[in-house]
């Protein structure tokens, strides 16, 4: 019983940062129609912002996380301007360009920090006990930050004019342009937010994983499974699928092992696609 509860707490942690990553990926796809293969590397760059600023240069942890969020957001803007905008009529081209960009980011990380795993000393040492399960402050901080960030994103999308514009653009870009909503502006916002969420996920979890230039790889595979299960294009779906996937994966890892957990994760995606080809919250066919 204790182990079950402890595993559930661990899954909460995994769900929180995976949700940040998956939501960003869905947002970029929704507005620009392009699959950002470099999304895992944006996570990696966020982690290295903390390696550099906090672990090496001894800036405060929170400041380093904030810098990671903004820096990776700006990398996202750069990607929009140099790759996705010129290739807007060619989503496959955008995907291929993002694969190239992934390799550039990986190489830059290797050049700057070496191939070996970085180490980030945990900024906090304490832990709390919740009904017998142990949760370190560091993990608790990730969970709380993810919830706050997702709530802020929710409020932005539902309550602000640019939020409506973003959703309108994701649903019908041409009709949105007839309302005066500029595709370029919307794409910039979506790309900044989507990249910044991946970056902040990397920055927040940097003390908990050992950042290496190649951590983006497993992240992107997991993120793809999540957004397919959730229904590509659905932000709510991405959050719920992240929770679902994290629980399944964490439980199977704990009670069997990590390889079986990956297989079960893919089986989960397969099962969802058989029952609902558009994913759990996928868009209905539009006329």
């Amino acid at each position: 019983m204790d182990l079950l509860w402890q595993t559930a707490i661990n899954a909460m942690y995994a769900a929180s940062y995976m949700a940040l990553i998956a939501v960003g990926l869905v947002m970029i796809f929704g507005v620009m129609g392009v699959i950002n293969f470099a999304h895992g590397e944006l996570y990696m760059v966020g982690a290295y912002c903390v390696v550099f600023l906090y672990a090496q240069e001894k800036f405060p942890f929170l400041l380093s996380v904030a810098a990671g969020l903004i820096f990776v957001g700006i990398v996202g803007l750069l990607m929009e301007r140099t790759m996705f905008r010129p290739l807007r009529k060619n989503p496959l081209g955008g995907l291929i360009a993002s694969i190239g960009f992934l390799l550039i980011l990986q190489t830059l990380a290797v050049l700057g920090f070496g191939r070996r795993m970085g180490h980030v000393p945990p900024p906090t040492q304490g832990k709390i006990e919740i009904f017998g399960a142990i949760l370190t402050y560091q993990r608790l901080f990730v969970i709380v930050a993810a919830i706050l960030l997702l709530a802020a994103l929710w409020a932005f999308l539902k309550r602000s004019k640019f939020g409506w514009a973003l959703r309108a653009c994701a649903q019908d870009a041409e009709a949105a342009s007839l309302q005066g909503i500029s595709m370029n502006q919307t794409a910039r916002i979506a790309m900044f937010i989507g990249a910044a969420l991946a970056g902040v996920a990397g920055a927040l979890t940097a003390p908990l994983v050992s950042p290496s230039p190649y951590i983006g790889h497993s992240i992107i595979v997991t993120a793809f499974i999540i957004i397919i299960v959730g229904g590509i294009g659905s932000l709510e779906g991405a959050v719920i699928a992240a929770v679902l996937y994290a629980f399944v994966h964490t439980f199977v890892t704990t009670f069997f092992d990590g390889v079986i957990a990956n297989i079960v994760g893919l089986a989960l995606m397969f099962a969802v696609l058989v029952v609902r080809p558009t994913g759990l919250f996928g868009a209905r066919e539009r006329a």
Partner: protein
């Protein structure tokens, strides 16, 4: 003239959808464009809104050239376009759909006034303001699409096939709405396959055939024209 199209050509790859079309829309009243499927009616409206690039010709709005401008800039200048098939945002609520129509406006009070006006004009939308647009009937979605366009406080309204797929009662309703909008001072360009309705509502009409203006004139005259009667009014 408020809006003038001068000898425009639009090509989809090799095929010319519009081959040298000229039209003029005065600052008041209803101008209609009728014609068969594929005659280029929708393309003409899309060209005005900046959705289709011209390969020849010019479009002038309010004495300024607008062809080549991005769609959002054309909206900013006062051209609102209700596209074919309504194209409301299915996963936005009715009110959110309407507010996207006012995206470029900044004066909060004036936006609220416009919203109240739209709700007064379309009580059905007021009742359903928190519903998803996708849950509404075709007629309600058409009202929503028109309301959304009005939220931009347009100086001219382009309507593409507002009667498409609607019941006869709803077509009557749409006809009344179009007349009201024009009577209240916003000129309307009405593209219609329902030529009977369009010629009754409009003061001036253009007949498009395979991408060119085949006939034009006061709507009443065209309604009595033999060719128009045979080809578009069923006898």
């Amino acid at each position: 003239m408020l809006l003038e199209i001068r000898d425009i050509e639009v090509r989809y790859q090799k095929i010319a959808a519009l081959k040298g079309v000229s039209m003029a829309v005065p600052a008041g009243g209803i101008v209609t464009i009728i014609g068969a499927n594929g005659a280029g009616k929708t393309t003409a409206l899309r060209a005005i809104s900046g959705l289709e690039p011209l390969t020849r010709g010019e479009i002038h709005f309010d004495d300024a050239r607008i062809d080549g401008l991005p769609p959002e800039e054309i909206v900013r200048r006062g051209v609102a376009h209700v596209p074919e098939g309504r194209r409301v945002f299915p996963d936005l609520t009715v009110e959110e759909n309407l507010r996207t129509g006012a995206f470029l406006r900044t004066e909060r009070a004036a936006i609220e006034t416009s919203l109240a006006d739209v709700f007064a004009r379309f009580p059905r939308l007021a009742e359903r303001r928190r519903q998803w647009a996708r849950s509404m009937s075709g007629g309600e979605q058409q009202m929503l699409a028109i309301g959304r366009a009005l939220m931009s406080a347009p100086r001219v309204l382009l309507l593409d096939e507002p009667s498409m797929g609607l019941s006869p009662v709803m077509v009557q309703e749409i006809a009344r709405i179009v007349t009201d909008i024009s009577a209240q001072g916003t000129p309307v360009v009405l593209v219609e396959q329902n030529a009977e309705m369009a010629l009754l509502l409009a003061q001036y009409a253009y007949v498009l055939e395979t991408g060119a203006v085949a006939l034009e004139g006061p709507a009443g005259d065209l309604h009595e024209n033999d060719h128009v009667r045979r080809a578009y009014l069923g006898g």
